[in-house]
Symmetry: none
Subunit: 154 residues, 2 copies
Amino acid sequence: MADLYAWTDGACSGNPGPGGWGVLMRAMEGDTIVKERELKGGEAETTNNRMELLAAINALEALTRGTAITITTDSAYVKNGVTGWIHGWKRNGWKTSNKKPVKNVDLWQRLDEAQRRHKVTWEWIKGHAGHPENERADELARAGMEPFKPAKAK
Amino acid sequence: MADLYAWTDGACSGNPGPGGWGVLMRAMEGDTIVKERELKGGEAETTNNRMELLAAINALEALTRGTAITITTDSAYVKNGVTGWIHGWKRNGWKTSNKKPVKNVDLWQRLDEAQRRHKVTWEWIKGHAGHPENERADELARAGMEPFKPAKAK
RNA sequence: AGACACCAGUUACC
DNA sequence: GGTAACTGGTGTCT
């Protein structure tokens, strides 16, 4: 009867540039961590927002069966998008409020699909505010980015 | 035998609200800038489109004798107005296609008059797209607006 | 329905 | 200082 939590974060060196995403997942029984799992990945040429999105997507896609999970992100873009904006976008053919095409549609649709089977509670926290789990997700994102950074000159 | 160019821009804080206009003028001989001149101004209560219009008007009114000049704006309103819509408006008594009175008639007529003596080539560029001259005109517009902004609190 | 501009706000990434 | 993204709004025309 464990509760599932995920903290997600993205990092990007350049924006656009090499980027990475990281996820810290935990199964909790009360205050006890009964299971922990870490995911990370990266790309050579991407943006901060794509990495934030991909972190959340990977958290959800890592779930094997339909469950309840609380996902915590420091990205207002992801949190507001998935809990609010996306409903309007599906209605109006993925246009923003200024009639421009929504960016990163591929990932928003993948996130929407990944979310479908689960009962997700989305939370937002301020970044760099001393949340240990958010900081761990940040480390993972940076680690995920590492292989895609251009070889140091030196 | 220098070629004349002007870049114009407007800015407006509030719309309607305090606004400014800016003009960068250049006389070029080939790739060489042989002369440069900057104009700016503002008003306490105006609109973005009036400022865009006034920038173009001031560029033309600054010319002493009839000449050829290329004016570059990022405003589709000004560019399309002066090169297209205005002909219809003069014919039909300054009504829009919906029979409404054309807005800013005073400035459209002043622009038309200012243009009469010259051979103007109108160009349009996308704003905020990294055109240095457009960015300079933008700075001038903001500077022109400055004296008309309400005194800072604090 | 379309286009351009102007403004206000929010978060993140550098 | 910049980019990546979104929300809300007005000024104007076709």
